[in-house]
C-alpha cells in the first residue's frame, strides 16, 4: 500500500503475547521451537471414533483456565476468550498501558463450541444458557480480553479463513504505514471445535498419521489452536517513548485465488502474487530473505502449490512449516506463525519442519532440527479457503 499523501511510515512490533500448543508465552514457545517439540496428542474434547483423524495440537485446559480468574463471569467465557486474555496479559506485561486506537484481529470460528452446545440443547429439549449465545460470536473473545484489562477500542475482526491472522496483521501494518493509525493491537485466535475438526476430516484434508509438511508422503494436516497478539506502533512514535522494538514489519501482500473454494490453483499463482506483492512493498529481492515460515499444511494440494511458488520465487531460501509441531490453528495460525517468525529473526535460528523424511519438491526444508542462522528478513505465509492468500515480511530491527 502506498500512501498518496505522505511518505510511508515504518511499523514496529513493540510487544507480543502468545499461547499455543508450543507453550504459554514467548519464552516457552522459543524453547519448543528450538527443541522441535511435537505437540500433537489424541483429541479428548469430543468424540473422534468416527473420524479418520484422531489427533490435534491442543492447549492444556487445566493450565489455560487456571490462569484465568476463577470468577463466575470468567467461567462463562469461551476457551478462546481465555486464550486471547492469556496472550494479551503477556503483551501488556511488556508494554504496560499500550494504548491502541483499534484492535484488528483474525479468527475463523470464535467460540464455535458454544454454538455446538447450543445446537445440542435444542435436540434434548432443555433450555440453554444465554451465556452460550452471548459468548459464541467471533468478536466476543477479543472484546472479553480488552474488558479484562480495562481496554476499550473498536474491534475489527477479519474472518478470511486460515489467512485471517496474517490478513489482520498485514492490514494493521498497512493502516499504520499509511498514517491512518499510530498504534494497533493486531493478531488472531481460534479454538478447536468439533464442527471444524469433522469438517476437515470430511474433506480428507486431516491426516490419521503424523503431520509432514512438504514431505513426499504427506497425508494431511492436524488441527491446532491458540492466540497471538502484537502491539504494532509507528516506529518514530515507539522510538520517541523509548519502547523496546522486537522487529519491524516491512511488507504485506494479499491476493485472491478464484480457482476453487477450497483448492488452490495448482500453478501456485495465488500464493506467488501475495509473496511478490509483499516483497515489492518491502523493497526486497528474494535473495535478501533468510527464512520462510510457510503455510505448509501438509495437504497434497497446498504444499505442492505453495512449494512451487516458493521454489520459483525464492529458490533455496530455507523453508519450514511449524504446523508440523503445533498443528494448524486456522484463524490464529498467521498470528502464531508471525510470532514464530519474529522469534526466529530475534534469536537468529531456523525453526524446524519436523516429521520430515524426503520431498518431491526442490525446497530447502529445515528438516527436523532447528539450526542457527544469520538473516535480516523473513517471510510468513498464510493461505485459506475462499482462495485468500496473505504474506507478511519481517525485518530484524537494527538500533
Amino acid at each position: 500500500m502506498n500512501s498518496r499523501k505522505q511518505d510511508p511510515r515504518r511499523v514496529a512490533v513493540v510487544a507480543a503475547g502468545i499461547v499455543s500448543p508450543l507453550g504459554f508465552g514467548l519464552t516457552e514457545t522459543l524453547q519448543s521451537l528450538r527443541q522441535g517439540r511435537d505437540c500433537v496428542t489424541p483429541v479428548a474434547a469430543f468424540p473422534v471414533d468416527k473420524t479418520r483423524c484422531k489427533t490435534a495440537a491442543q492447549i492444556d485446559d487445566e493450565r489455560l483456565l487456571n490462569r484465568a480468574q476463577r470468577s463466575r463471569r470468567a467461567r462463562r467465557l469461551h476457551r478462546a476468550s481465555h486464550m486471547v486474555i492469556t496472550a494479551l496479559a503477556e503483551l501488556l506485561e511488556d508494554a504496560p498501558g499500550f494504548p491502541p486506537e483499534i484492535a484488528i484481529v483474525g479468527t475463523t470460528s470464535g467460540g464455535m463450541s458454544f454454538g455446538e452446545n447450543f445446537y445440542r440443547t435444542l435436540g434434548n429439549g432443555n433450555g440453554c444458557s444465554a451465556a452460550l449465545i452471548a459468548n459464541y460470536p467471533p468478536q466476543k473473545q477479543i472484546v472479553d480480553a480488552m474488558e479484562k484489562f480495562g481496554m476499550n477500542v473498536p474491534a475489527e475482526v477479519i474472518a478470511n479463513a486460515c489467512a485471517s491472522g496474517t490478513n489482520a496483521i498485514g492490514h494493521a501494518f498497512n493502516a499504520i504505514r499509511a498514517g491512518r493509525y499510530q498504534r494497533i493491537l493486531a493478531g488472531g485466535y481460534d479454538a478447536l471445535s468439533e464442527l471444524v475438526f469433522v469438517g476437515f476430516d470430511s474433506l480428507q484434508a486431516a491426516t490419521p498419521e503424523k503431520c509432514r509438511p512438504f514431505d513426499s508422503n504427506r497425508s494431511g494436516m492436524v488441527l491446532g489452536e491458540g492466540a497471538a497478539l502484537f502491539a504494532l506502533e509507528e516506529l518514530e512514535s515507539a522510538r520517541s517513548r523509548g519502547a523496546e522494538i522486537l522487529g519491524e514489519i516491512i511488507g504485506y501482500g494479499i491476493s485472491t485465488d478464484n480457482h476453487h473454494l477450497t483448492q488452490p490453483n495448482p500453478d501456485g499463482s495465488g500464493p506467488r502474487r501475495a509473496m511478490e506483492q509483499a516483497l515489492a512493498q518491502a523493497k526486497l529481492t528474494p535473495d535478501q530473505v533468510g527464512y520462510i515460515n510457510a503455510h505448509g499444511t501438509a495437504t497434497i494440494l497446498n504444499d505442492s502449490a505453495e512449494g512451487k511458488a516458493i521454489m520459483e520465487l525464492f529458490g533455496d531460501v530455507p523453508v519450514s512449516s511449524t504446523k508440523s509441531m503445533m498443528g494448524h490453528s486456522l484463524g490464529a495460525a498467521g498470528a502464531i506463525e508471525a510470532a514464530v517468525t519474529l522469534l526466529a529473526l530475534q534469536y537468529q535460528f531456523l525453526p524446524p519442519n519436523i516429521n520430515f523424511r524426503e520431498s518431491d519438491l526442490s525446497l530447502n526444508v529445515v528438516a527436523n532440527e532447528a539450526h542457527e542462522a544469520q538473516f535480516n528478513c523473513a517471510v510468513s505465509n498464510s493461505f485459506g479457503f475462499g482462495g485468500t492468500n496473505a504474506t507478511i515480511v519481517f525485518r530484524k530491527f537494527a538500533r
Partner: protein, 361 residues
Amino acid sequence: MSLSIAGMSWVTPLGSDVDDVWQRLLAGETAPVEILENEENGARYLVRRVPANTPFPAHSRLRRASAISRFAAAAGLAALAEVKLPPSLDRIALVFAVSNGGVVYTRRFYSEIVKSGAQSASPLLFPETVFNAPASHLAAILGINGASYTVVGDGAVGILALKLAEDLLASDDLDFCLVVSAEEIDPLVCEAYRQWRFLRNPSKPTGRGMIMSEGAGAVLLERPDESIPSAAAHASAARIEQIVPGRNFFRRSEAAAELGAVVARLENGIGFGVGSANGTFIGRAERAAVGNKLPLYSPKIALGESVGASVLWQLIAAAQALKTGTLPGGLELPANSPALVLACGLNQQTGGLTLRLRQRE
C-alpha cells in the same frame, strides 16, 4: 477521508430495486411477515424473508451455495452495474460484512454430525460454512483477484467494514472498494435470539422485540480524486464524510453512552439520523444518544433485523432520504444537512457515519 458512493444496491424482503423499495418505505409499507417453525423444538418465529421470486445471478459458483451467497451476488453485481465505466478489476477490493454467515449449511452440517455421526458429515457443506465463503463466490464471479476481506461482528459490523474499506482506499493501489453485507435466516439463529429474549413473540405480532430478516446490501465506494479521469463519470447521489467505529459496551446500560461518544466525534449540524432500532433496547439507547429533537428513522421497523446486512441497508436508506428530501412518515428534511447513520449491535459493538448529498461533477 470522504468517499463517494458510486453505486449501491440491496436485496430486501420488500424487493431489490433501490428506488422502488424506498418509495414503498416512504408510502409506509412494511415487508410481509411469515411464521418460521423450528423442526428441532417446535418453536415458531416471525420472520421477513426475501421474496421467492427474486432474480439471482446464474453462475457455477452459486450452484451449491447457500442463500446468503446469492443475496450477496445479486446486490454486489447490481451496485457495480451502476458505474458507467466499469472499474479495472485489479484496482478494486472487496470487503464483506457478516454476522451469522452461512448458518443454513452450518446447521445442516453439524446436524449430520450429531444425528448420523461424523462419518456422515458432507464435504460439500463444510466449505460453505466458512464466514468468507460468500465473499469468495462473489470475488470469483466478478473476477477480483486482489484484496478481499470478510469482517465479522454484530449488527454494527457494517460500520467496521466501511472503515476497513476507507483504510484500503487510503492507498494509491486502489480506486474502488465494493462493500457487501449479507445475511440469511435460519431457525437456529432465530432460536438463539429468542432464548436471548430479543425476538418478538409470534402470539403478540405488534409487541416488543425484533423480527429477523435476511438479504444483502452493497455499496461501491470510490475515492474522489481529480487525478483519476474516470471519477467524474461515476457521479452518484451521496458521499460518506466520516466513519467512526465505536467502542464496545460491556453492559447494555452503557450502550447509550458509547453511541453518544460516536455521535460526538461526528460532524455537527446533522439534519436527521437513520438508526438501528429493532424493537429491543437499541432504540432507547440511540434516542438517548442523539437527543429528542433529531429525526431518527430505522428501516429495521419495516424490513426486519438483518444483523450483518443491516448497516448497508441503513446507509442506502440515508442516501435515498438525502436524495428525495424526505423520510418515511412524511417528514421533510432540511436541505444540505448531513445524515447520520448510527449502528448498535446486540453484542457490544457500536459505530456511526455521516453522509452528504454529493454535487454532480
